[in-house]
Amino acid sequence: MRLRYLLPLGLFVVLGLFLLVGLQLKPREIPSALIDKPVPEFDLPPVQGRQRGLAARDLRAGEVSLVNVFASWCGPCRVEHPLLVELAAKKVVPVHGINYKDRPDAAAAWLDSLGDPYDRTGADLSGRVSIDWGVYGVPETFIVDRQGRILLKHVGALRPEDIEDKIMPLLRKLGS
């Protein structure tokens, strides 16, 4: 058997090993450039019918907080919404919402009918603030520490295991 006939098999074995390793990787989990950085400066009015708006200073007020970017027109947001309501009811962490590019009345109706888990809400009608947060698709969820630094970014709808395995351990570590 001549060696050159073995070459294709050899190359394939290397490729196969890479693919096997690749199966364990998560290419969709893109590290955010904002991790460990202070939250961007912003000041948003509340969603229609709510009293408390959301601004950068609220997130630096010495409390760990969760910031959820949502929209009434977004399907996955609807899926994760009950989890946020549940999390807020447990009062482990204040839950804030940034309402991304929504019609004010639609956002209000959405919160009225599905339940409002948010302590503070910010209506980001133009989407400019969300761009500063590095949001590229709703929903996205951030954990912000007492000094207002972003510690965690979750892209896509939260699942129960995300809360159990990612968010709760981090909150416990921060002592909230």
Partner: protein
């Protein structure tokens, strides 16, 4: 009940495939004709059973049986009939079942039309085919059962992704699969040849039509996908070098190489081991594409339901199929010795060059596609590889390929005469240079790129014509003789010239639309106007309106050229509530010479709307070229000489005549 029937038929098909994969091999090794003949009936039975299963799933979709999970997740009672039928393969489980159906169809094709094959070769080919079927049927039954029930059933289904509710895309997967799966026949023939240790011209004559058919289908499939991306995604592009697109391009490149190297085996009995390896690689790349698309190891804009468990199954299947066949290749390839030699400068030499360049292109696409995975595995860095890499890396291979495409068909087998060929191609050379110089003189933008590109295109378009004229001895022999030659010119020769001409057409579309496209992206308020190429777009505003199952924002453009009205264009952005998503309906005014393309997007909150406007010269030639290439393939396929078994029959007749 019908779903269970389908499920049961699929389990039976798995059993049949198991028998078909083993007994005929044993029979071929022992020379048992009965066991060898079993392969044919098993292949037909397997096809009937898979067709029954497929029919059952189609029935579930047609009857909106929402107790079947797959129907509930992917269909809707109000969906148009066409999309109920095409919805069967518009999802992971159903598309795998379609794959298995086409696989069984091809197997049945070999069984039905392979009467002239040597019995042992036929038995082995069908056994290898059944091994592939075994893998896919097991994959379906154990990880992706389309017949699973749900209790209680939902009142109505989720509906099909609106992006997929489109005739262009509806027929894209079947063509792709006909291509991918068609290559499995070439693969099965390669494995059978390795087992027998023999590759001869008869083998190549057998492999060629299947490869040709698969290649033509794949060409149409890829073109449909690209066309759909162009008019439906609304990004203005036709090819994005997305992993899922690349997954279909790699087997196409390798299959094109196989098509060319198989001629060398057929005519000259050389390049045998290489051709067998190419047949293995082409199908392996089809399987690799399936793995990449379904496992989620790469990030793609194509939202497939990905699942690591499924990924592991396909990877294991890939390891067995590809690893096993490459090991067999390593052990047996030495037995495949060439029966002839050839000079570097010859038809064979040109075809080797073709293979090297196409192979390099396939390897480049593979590297670019998997590079993010390699880097992530080795260093943890996340990168994406985009069009600049692919353009820069592929152009150096495409340039010599286009030049060789002109020379190759005129070179003689064994030892060619380049000066003589160059003399005969003088016309084409002149045309190419003239076009390049004229472009250089006239073009105000991208002159160098355009000149090289168009010169090359002119070369690729004229050389097939010169080659045809040569075959007919046009202008050199009396017209009557040329006419007589025309009438006996084999269809395969027409097919080749046509396919090569198609390459030129496609290249023309790519070069012209890349070099001279005008793109205008801006926020427009009603009353604003923009110049796009020679046209003026007047934006008259946008309004909301209700569609049958969506809300639309429809923009209104009045397009004029030198003050004369040309068209009214009304692009839309549609927002679907179920399932929630937004689609872009670009307004396109397609013409043979140019496309106008308009997209309207979100309001910017200050009275304006995000708009994108394009003027794309000759862009439709890209798909026209692909269609011409596929037509060339089909024409070649219809050649009498390809009609399977004809040479064997002739030889048998000769043997009978000599009393041998």
């Amino acid at each position: 009940m019908i779903a269970e029937l389908g499920h049961f038929a699929l389990i039976l098909a798995l059993g049949v495939a198991l028998a078909q994969a083993s007994l005929p091999l044993w029979g071929a090794a022992r020379g048992d004709r009965g066991l060898m003949a079993f392969a044919g009936s098993a292949a037909l039975t397997q096809f009937l059973l898979v067709a029954l299963a497929y029919g059952a799933l189609t029935q579930a979709f047609l009857g909106s049986d929402f107790s079947v999970i797959n129907v509930a997740t992917n269909s809707h009672s109000q969906k148009p009939l066409l999309y109920k039928i095409t919805g069967v393969w518009g999802n992971h489980e159903g598309s795998l079942l379609l794959w298995a159906l086409i696989l069984a169809l091809f197997g049945a094709g070999v069984a039905a039309f392979g009467a002239n094959l040597p019995p042992s070769l036929k038995a082995r080919v069908l056994a290898v085919q059944a091994m592939i079927a075994l893998g896919f049927l097991a994959f379906i039954l154990f990880t992706s059962n389309p017949f699973q029930r749900i209790d209680p059933p939902p009142a109505d289904g989720n509906g099909l992704n609106p992006l997929l509710q489109d005739p262009g895309l509806a027929f894209h997967p079947p063509f792709l699969y006909l291509g991918y799966v068609g290559f499995s026949i070439a693969f099965a023939f390669a494995i059978a040849a390795l087992i027998e240790g023999r590759v001869d011209p008869a083998w190549a004559r057998w492999v060629r039509p299947w490869t040709l058919a698969a290649w033509s289908f794949l060409t149409v499939g890829i073109a449909l996908g690209s066309w759909w991306a162009y008019y439906e995604l609304g990004w203005g592009g036709y090819w994005f070098w997305d992993p899922v697109e690349n997954a279909s391009l790699m087997p196409w490149l390798a299959g094109t190489a196989l098509l060319h190297s198989a001629t060398v085996v057929e005519k000259r009995e050389a390049l045998k081991a290489w051709t067998v390896l190419l047949a293995i690689l082409t199908f392996s790349l089809s399987l690799l594409g399936t793995f990449l698309v379904r496992s989620g190891v790469l990030t793609s804009v194509h939202a497939f339901a990905t699942d690591p468990a499924r990924g592991l199954f396909i990877l294991a299947f890939l390891a067995v199929t590809v690893g096993g066949s490459l090991a067999l290749f390593a052990a047996r390839a030495e037995a495949l010795v060439a029966r002839s030699w050839f000079a570097a400068l010859s038809r064979e030499g040109a075809l080797v060059l073709n293979n090297l360049l196409l192979g390099a292109m396939a390897a480049t696409v593979l590297l670019g596609t998997l590079y993010p995975l390699f880097l992530d595995a080795l260093t943890g860095d996340k990168v994406s590889v985009g069009p600049p890499f692919f353009h820069a890396a592929l152009a150096p291979s495409f340039l010599p390929l286009a030049i060789a495409l002109g020379f190759g068909p005129l070179l003689a087998w064994k030892r060619g005469d380049l000066p003589a060929v160059t003399r005969r191609l003088g016309v084409a050379l002149g045309v190419a240079l003239a076009v390049a110089l004229i472009t250089l003189a006239l073009a105000d933008r991208h002159a160098a790129l355009g000149a090289i590109g168009l010169g090359l295109v002119a070369w690729a378009l004229t050389t097939p014509l010169v080659e045809l004229a040569e075959r007919l001895r046009l202008f050199r022999a009396p017209l009557a003789e040329s006419w007589a030659r025309l009438r006996i010119l084999p269809r395969a020769a027409w097919g080749m010239s046509l396919a090569h001409f198609g390459v030129g057409l496609m290249a023309m579309g790519v070069v012209a639309s890349e070099a001279w496209q005008t793109e205008r992206i801006q926020a427009l308020r009603p009353g604003d106007a923009v110049a796009v190429g020679p046209y003026k777009f007047d934006f008259k505003g946008a309004r909301e309106l209700d569609g049958p199952n969506y809300l639309a924002l429809r923009g209104h453009f009045e397009v004029t050229r030198d003050g004369r009205p040309v068209a009214v264009m009304e692009p839309e952005t549609r927002r679907y509530p179920v399932p929630p998503m937004t689609t872009t309906e670009a307004a396109i005014r397609p013409r043979l010479t140019e496309d106008l393309y308009a997209v309207v997007g979100e309001p910017d909150g200050e009275g304006g709307f995000a708009t994108r406007l394009y003027h794309k010269p000759l862009v439709s030639w890209i798909w026209l070229g692909a269609l011409v290439m596929a037509t060339g393939g089909a024409l070649s396929l219809s050649d009498r000489r390809h009609r399977v078994g004809a040479p064997v029959r002739a030889r048998r007749a000769a043997q009978a005549a000599t009393g041998d």
